[in-house]
């Protein structure tokens, strides 16, 4: 397994958010973590990369326990993280945003350059000198993914990549994620949009109220509409 999370419990102050969460991503796999707003998707990802101060449990990345490491160290080992709210550096240009994400090439993993990212997201190539703050939501979403790719990750946590985007951009995003998969990246996305998740994922987990409720292939989920209705329908 590329990433193996087990017994994850997270807290914000006195609020217990995650309860013994387990999930895993295999080599080259695309996995979806599905759930409604507030189910614990973002907290799960933030806990994996060490951004939640109070957490217990185990995070194994490429066979090593990274749960006690500082965020930057986890990321440098090749675990890329794309946050939900994009968090573009608004004062910095597209190129400069990439500079912040840049890390040394890693053996056995695709190496990304700005030029290769412009191939993935042609829109960005047309605005290399534009400050991040002067871009549309879709363009910012592309920028934030490209910025993480600049770190040459072997696995990417993508937090709600389709959120708030126009349908056309969502399709473009799905294509880009498939292209990343073809490059050999392992990917886990969090989603509320089941349709989008179906387009790209091999397997899925469903999280509700901080607990994993379902784990299986997309076909399993397809075959059990009652699960979908119980945990995902709005």
């Amino acid at each position: 397994m590329k990433l193996e999370v087990s017994g994850l419990n997270s807290f914000y102050g006195q609020a217990h958010i995650l309860f013994d969460v387990d999930f895993a991503v295999g080599e080259g796999e695309v996995v979806a973590l599905l759930g409604r707003n507030g189910a614990g998707k973002s907290t799960s990802f933030r806990s994996v990369v060490g951004l939640v101060g109070q957490r217990t449990g185990k995070v194994m990345f490429e066979g090593e326990d990274v749960s006690r490491l500082p965020t930057y160290d986890i990321v440098r080992r090749g675990l890329g993280y794309v946050p939900e709210d994009r968090r573009i550096f608004t004062e910095l240009t597209v190129e400069e945003n990439f500079v912040v994400g840049r890390q040394a090439p890693r053996s056995g993993v695709a190496t990304w350059t700005p030029e290769r990212i412009y191939e993935l997201f042609p829109n960005l190539g047309e605005m290399r000198r534009r400050p991040g703050g002067h871009m549309s939501g879709g363009e910012q979403q592309m920028l934030t993914i490209g910025r993480t790719l600049m770190g040459n990750p072997s696995l990417v946590l993508l937090d709600e990549p389709s959120e708030g985007l126009a349908p056309k951009i969502v399709e473009q995003m799905a294509d880009a994620i498939m292209a990343m998969k073809r490059e050999g990246l392992s990917i886990i996305i969090s989603e509320q949009n089941l349709h989008f998740a179906k387009l790209i994922s091999d397997r899925a987990y469903i999280i509700e109220k901080g607990r994993i409720r379902f784990s299986g292939t997309m076909a399993d989920l397809e075959a059990n509409p009652e699960i979908r209705d119980a945990y995902l329908a709005v």
Partner: protein, 632 residues
Amino acid sequence: MEFLLVQALSGLASAASLFLVASGLSIIFGVMRIVNFAHGAFYMLGAYVAFTLTDRFAGPLGFWGGVLVASLVVAAVGALMEMVLLRRIYHAPELFQLLATFGVTLMVEDLVVLIWGSEDLMGPRAPGFTGAVSVFGRLVPSYDFLLIALGPLVLGLLWLLFHRTRWGVLVRAATQDREMVASLGVNQKWLFTSVFALGVFLAAFGGALQIPRTTVSHAMDLSIIVEVFVVVVIGGLGSVTGAFVAAILVSELNAFGILILPQISMITVFLVMAVVLVVRPYGLFGKPEGAPRAAAGISIRPWRPMTNLERSGVAAVVVVVALMPLFAGDYTLSVGSEILVYVLFAASLHFLMTVGGLSSFGHAAYFGLGAYGAALLVKYFGAPMEAALVIGPVLGLVGAVLFGWFCVRLSGVYFAMLTLAFAQITWSVAFQWVEVTGGDNGILGIWPSSWASTPQGFFWLALAIVVVCVAALRMLVFSPFGFGLRAARDSALRSEAIGINGKSTQWIAFIVAGTFAGIAGALFAFLKGSVFPETLGIPTSVDGLVMVLLGGIETVSGAVVGAVVYKALAIWLMSKTELSKLVLGGVIVLLVVAFPKGIVGFLEDLRHRRPKAPGGAGSEGAVDVAKVEAAR
């Protein structure tokens, strides 16, 4: 006309050093969110080290090499301070870092005297720039022209550094969102250390460049730090360009203010700052501060009123203190009265800072206004002590009504700086309006009524007033008004949404705090029998801050404990050692590192060693949480 030009040139030359120091402070704040109080101390150290080096090694290489090496040496000292001290307290509340750097400032002040002596030192002239250039028949030192050219040069170099190097891009990114920078694999530790070193280098360089112009003295740090704060705030925190423009503005105001308005020359700069902040709350080139992405749950222990048991405990302590005059000597009692006065002063600041979330750097203004109010009543109206104690604090109240109205429009560091500006304005009025306030000579002969004129009598008077006032402040904390104030502190938007007028709530809190500080000030005037402008000065404001922080910013009773500990320690050290600042600074630094939640916060942690399991987790989980928390 020629004269004005020469004056303008001299202002520009002064602007160079000011810009260097201010840009360093601005860069450090932008990335690290630390108001580095020690910045003036590093400026001073730069001047002293450069003095020693240029004294030892003559010639152009010796001079310029000395200036450069001195700046590098001091930058290394700064980096060391960041690694050894600041790194330990990044998780403490923001103001704690200010307290730590303040402790370092105190230590440096004594160390400098210890190493270089207390005499002012005359540095060498800069080789090749010893002469003067004639401008329209007036002589301008050629060194001034060098400095004038240096300002834009450094600005350009900094621009290149921040826009053309990866390090600079990382720094700009971190200024906006540190957590995201870490999430992209950047080790912030070294980024912070290098940013701090650069900022300190600029401060030391600014100091080293001053040695051909002015004498080197151990008071250099305080004289520049306030001006630098003003520059950084006018320019906008985190903006180097802003620092450049504001440095010129402030220097020219200083150069011309003295010609045009000599009576109020000292306050013109602060008036301009106040105007800028009211019109542009984030300074000329600043951007609104993003809401701090603070980790949730720093103070997870909710405040609650005292239990009956605790009340009886406090009552017992008050009774014991009240019995002191029966056995303690006169000296102890007058020290005790002074501590009591500061307890009330600290409690009033605590109400504003902790309950209101408004960190005032100029709370001494209202303390001093209360003192002057009482003193003026006695001097001009022959008021008896009882009347002066009641009416005197009204001056503090009036000051708080006026200044508070402007201040509560701002928040965070900008609020702190505006309160500082108003305090400096008040101080300048007391200092320069000699006809009324006696200026530097103060107002003398403010003696208590005969029944309170003995140390015992005054101690009882002070105790009674302080106990009643502190109890009243505490009741306010747990009143509906106090809840509203805390709601406005914790979430401006949500509290507005449930119908709380945040600004007016904070304004009232400001007035309450100012009034109680005024009561403390009036007591202080009668304790000392006199009032001087120092009562309103920055050191008094800083004393108050230190007391609140030392006690524990997130606790209800921290201020009282902090005031007793700090004031007793300061008075005791003063009587025991020549190097009281060194020891006091050292003690503050140690306390900050040992008790990042303050003394009372630490004691509360001890009491709640085993937290209850949050939200139904097993007891094992709860222990783990405590561990994780302790590790943070």
